[in-house]
Symmetry: C2
Subunit: 74 residues, 2 copies
DNA sequence: ACCCTATGTTAATAATATTTAACATTATGT
DNA sequence: ACATAATGTTAAATATTATTAACATAGGGT
């Protein structure tokens, strides 16, 4: 398993709560590809801040209810 | 003036409120360069979500009190 | 068993974020 | 006036994120 980024998210859960939205549908709303959504859900990399905000807008939740930073806080 | 990203921030203000922290000092805490901090403050580009969270941690504020998305919410 | 949809996964490429170095401006202190 | 610290700004290089296409698996419906 490849290394994960230190930010978790519950996009997958939110998709199901929102009328079982598919990765494809979410990707289309964002103007991204479904592979990018899959990669974000699997924490392969940290999305840009802008993409994170747009995801939060789609689900009508504050950003930090969807993404949570799990890194050390030095 | 070059185009700006659709996310505003009040990092500059927060630096001053936090003991007049300089761009250089903030950059060092984050492991970034001062030019990167300058560029973020001037909205030249959107920082990564991870950097945004680490900035929020440094100032002990929720992320969305520092960064606000100003794009259309489709 | 067969089709169809949703998702996982990988590799190569494109786009964007970040670094580095260099030089500029502005304000402050002596 | 001179020196110094903080910041602005640019260009070129590197690192990371996002796209695309291709192929894989798992589950549901018929």
């Amino acid at each position: 398993m490849a290394k994960q980024i230190p930010i978790s998210n519950n996009i997958k859960t939110l998709r199901f709560l929102n009328d079982e939205m598919t990765q494809q549908e979410l990707a289309e709303k964002l103007g991204l590809t479904r592979q990018t959504i899959a990669a974000i859900e699997q924490r392969k990399y940290s999305p840009s801040l802008e993409i994170a905000f747009r995801i939060a807008n789609i689900f009508k939740k504050p950003l930090d209810e969807i993404f949570v930073y799990e890194g050390r806080d030095d």
